[in-house]
Amino acid sequence: MLKTIRLEDENTQFLKKVESISGEIITVCDQCGVCSGSCPFTDDMDITPANMMRKVQLGQSDVLETETIWICASCLRCMARCPRGLDLSKVAEALRQINLRTAINHIKVEDISPEEAKRLPAIAYVGAFRKLTG
């Protein structure tokens, strides 16, 4: 079912919030989609990276509920190619942070099986808990 978008003041507020946390001027995104083609994980995402940018531009806060923002691993392929010089990893980070700052963590230690826990390298732990917990 298609949902009608209303362009209210709160939409602009959401855009401004994401711009402020990310430090990126998201309105300059041209929607060319070079980020999406560059992203190695689009097959695992529910919306494309360019679509994530579009939703932020229009202040559609349902972007916070997408899987995409959690899948971005800041590999920066998109950033190195963006013709408008945007860093999408910072936008994804800001969107994750908006979620995480409500004190809801995206991963839990207890979900990791004991044998996996033993096998995993420290670098993976630090990275994941930095990115996916508040």
Partner: protein, 306 residues
């Protein structure tokens, strides 16, 4: 730098967490190989974790404190004459390299206010002067000259076809990368210098899936499979990396790939330093091949290198 074997060039070295644990073979092979080149890695006293991932929000200075503490240590090493006027901080792990270099850039490029704020926060430490430069071992090798590296090779790794896996952290963001972000050549030059053949493959700077190995394992499995298969299709015998997380994802996750797809052909994953040590003719202890998940010995024996 002094080109005299009797006097080693001393350089402050930041190991990072995983090199003291799962990636001991990475550290050992690198340190031992460096000695052959006349370089001594001097471990930074009281180093602490870099944070692994760079803070990407504009309102978060806190995450720069850990990197900065390490930079202060390097400045102290100089004032205490542990090293002689050597402010370069050497890293092996790509992730540490990236996090530390970006943090250093943030601290130094930002207004003085940020530097002051961070310095004020750490009232027990000396202030950071901003003198440190973060470099990766590959950059040091390039500086020494790959032809010099080649001169020290005892066992040229002839007929070994190696896929240079850059991953993300050595190349991006482009302004801190060690080479061109789209068209790098430094690892290829390294591979040639030890007598092996570099293989050009499409996935050389494709992300392995990084920390998703904790909670979204399937992403990593898919990604690792793609990278390894691509390397294999381009004729590679093995892949080299300089990141313990890439190494884990490409090497250890082959277990799951194999479980899911029996037709998958496994491939050894090396730290670049392991092949350097092998080419220099160092002994088994330096190589640490027993810590690799996919046993590389059959391949090396087949090529007559073991």
């Amino acid at each position: 730098m002094k080109n005299n074997n009797t006097q080693l060039m001393k350089i402050p070295y930041f190991p990072g967490c995983t090199l003291k644990d799962q990636a001991k073979n990475f550290e050992r092979s690198a340190l031992d190989s460096a000695k052959i080149l006349g370089i001594e890695f001097v471990e930074i006293p009281k180093w602490i974790c870099c944070g692994t991932v760079e803070s990407l929000t504009s309102d978060d200075d806190m995450h720069h404190i850990a990197p900065m503490r390490n930079f202060i240590r390097v400045e102290e090493m100089n004032s205490q004459k542990i090293v002689d006027n050597e402010y370069r901080m050497l890293t092996l792990c790509s992730m540490c390299f990236n996090t530390l270099k970006r943090s250093n850039q943030f601290i130094n490029n930002n207004d003085q206010e940020t530097l002051k704020k961070l310095n004020d926060f750490m009232y027990l430490e000396e202030d950071y002067q901003g003198k440190v430069e973060v470099i990766h071992f590959f950059e040091l090798l390039r500086e020494i000259g790959f032809e010099k590296v080649a001169q020290k090779v005892n066992v040229p790794l002839k007929s070994l076809k190696i896929a240079p896996y850059y991953g993300c952290m050595l190349l991006r963001p482009p302004d801190i990368g060690i080479d061109d972000a789209e068209n790098p050549s430094i690892i290829e030059e390294f591979i040639s210098s030890i007598g092996a053949d570099p293989v050009d493959f499409n996935s050389k700077h494709r992300c392995c899936g990084s920390y998703h190995t904790i909670s979204k394992v399937q992403i990593v499995i898919n990604s690792a499979k793609k990278i390894i298969t691509d390397a294999r299709n381009h004729g590679a015998d093995a892949i080299i990396t300089s990141c313990p997380l890439c190494a884990f994802n490409l090497d250890s996750r082959q277990k799951e790939i194999k479980e899911q797809d029996d037709s998958f052909k496994q491939m050894p994953i090396f730290y670049f330093s392991q092949l350097l040590a092998l080419a220099f003719g160092l002994d088994k202890d330096s190589l640490g091949l027993e810590d690799n998940y996919i046993n590389p010995e059959p391949l090396l024996k087949e090529k007559g290198l073991l």
